[in-house]
Symmetry: C2
Subunit: 310 residues, 2 copies
């Protein structure tokens, strides 16, 4: 019972292009192409693998792009067991010029009812020996909006702890099934509870079914509400870099904290430090290990009254 299972239902082949200058409505020569296995659960798996944890990545992959994602994950040394789908896994293209980055997000593949059935069966099999399941990211077209709720309930029946990191309807429906931890970011939380401030919105997520909520708020750190306490965890400094994947590093740290039963303040400090170390690393799904070790003891975790939150 020590494995962590990281689920990515809508993974991507992430392409990063560098150009001298991005000229709209012209032909741009790409100088370098970086290919990565992408998707939030895959980033979680890569961070945990790099930290020496035993993790398995699963989800749905299809076509030539799906095969490429599987090859890239294998090259990273991450254990993977994905269910094959008929459609092509999406790509994301990020074009980096000296000024900034331009993103192009392909739509996800449409999943058939049979493929979703096949995934649930594989998921049940994969839960053997798993302590914590991390459910991350958007749902591709064709999946029911309560897909995460289904996966949370299957895990709960098997006594496996669940961490849900999603937004929108996927988060709303998933929370109703009672995950052990929901980890929205501030934007996802506010979309769920418009008009509420962050503590009030987090409390609403608890009432909606989650047993604990950790809200990530970029360089401002984390807010955590559990059945027994509430904390803020703040990094000792603002780290410059690429924030993509910082939330996934946070989820990775929280997953191992859940597995180990680490006290909440330590668990949150670990998550803040690992997130900041991910910002400092050049690509999503990797962390700056030296920075992590330096920041870890310097994170400030303070309790706050839940009364003041509502």
């Amino acid at each position: 019972m020590c494995l962590i299972l990281a689920v990515t239902l809508n993974p991507a082949l992430d392409l990063t292009y560098t150009v001298d200058e991005m000229v709209q409505h012209a032909t741009n020569r790409v100088h370098t192409v970086l290919e990565r296995a992408g998707g939030k659960g895959i980033n979680v798996a890569r961070v945990l693998h790099a930290a020496g944890e035993t993790v398995v990545a699963t989800g749905l992959l299809g076509g030539a792009t799906g095969a490429r994602v599987a090859d890239l994950l294998a090259a990273d040394g991450v254990r993977a067991d994905f269910v094959a789908i008929g459609a092509e896994t999406r790509r994301t293209v990020v074009v980096v010029d000296p000024a900034d980055a331009t993103g192009l997000w392909e739509p996800g593949p449409t999943i058939t009812a049979g493929e979703w059935d096949a995934f649930r069966t594989r998921y049940e099999d994969l839960l053997d020996g798993v302590a914590v399941v991390v459910l991350s990211g958007s749902l591709p077209p064709g999946l029911p909006q309560d897909a995460y709720a289904t996966l949370v309930r299957i895990a709960a029946r098997r006594g496996v702890t669940t961490l849900l990191d999603a937004g929108g309807d996927a988060l709303r429906h998933g929370v109703a099934a009672g995950p052990d931890l929901a980890k929205p970011n501030v934007a996802e939380l506010r979309a769920l509870e418009p008009g509420s401030d962050t503590p009030a919105a987090a409390a609403a997520v608890l009432r909606a079914g989650a047993r604990a909520v950790v809200v990530s708020d970029g360089p401002r750190g984390l807010l955590a509400l559990t059945g027994t306490g509430a904390w803020r965890a703040v990094p000792p400094e603002v780290v410059a870099g690429n924030p993509t994947g910082a939330g996934d590093a946070c989820a990775a740290a929280l997953a191992r904290g859940l597995r180990d039963g680490t006290p909440w303040p330590d668990r949150l400090a670990d998550a803040v430090a690992l997130s900041a170390a991910a910002v400092a690393a050049p690509v999503a799904g990797s962390v700056d290990a030296a920075l992590y070790r330096r920041l870890r003891p310097a994170v400030t975790v303070t309790p706050f009254s839940q009364g003041s939150a509502c």
Copy 2:
């Protein structure tokens, strides 16, 4: 001796994305993704196959993108026999918004000396039963600049007719080996002979070794110089549409004219009509067959004095 062999040494997986609005330095959601096997020789093969000709596409393909190109060609019904390389075949991404298109061209894969050896061996084998070889497009990194000259000489030793459609150094070196026909476009011709007008530059290509030259000039049609005559061929109307691939349709028509020994005026009329019909078709490598049949008898071909050209 009836086959046409279409060579693409630097093919691509062509991706066409449609977006509502292309916003630079932001994330753009892609609505539709169109994947095509790309590259000039592949377009030539697709046009000839659609016209009922027996054609084989060859060249170099590698990695997941190369496998996808092979799958897409097979789905189009085009016979293909490519040599496998270790690196990934490049992609081209074209982002179409309501205003215009933005292109992103990946660099080609680097070809090893062993892969180039393997290609030459396969090419020799494939020449059995071939009447005309079409050599199209850019050379990927790693290939010698005189790669087309080598392929022209091998074909000539076997009595196989050659058509070279390229630019820059690939054209310059290739022409020196004496292809039966060189088909640069006006921009490629002018880059080869700066300061010359089109007829003078075409005459210089003849002197440099080509046995005939056909210069494509978009809606202005074709200029042809051969050892025995010179003609201009002009379409009866300007066709609106996508000019990408029109030059490849022109090369396809010229290749079948070379194979059949069609008199030059008829050959040029066919090439003008097929090019225009390619402009009217939505994607490169396809033609509007009805438009082709309507335009074919209406193309104007007029001789002109080579004396006036130099």
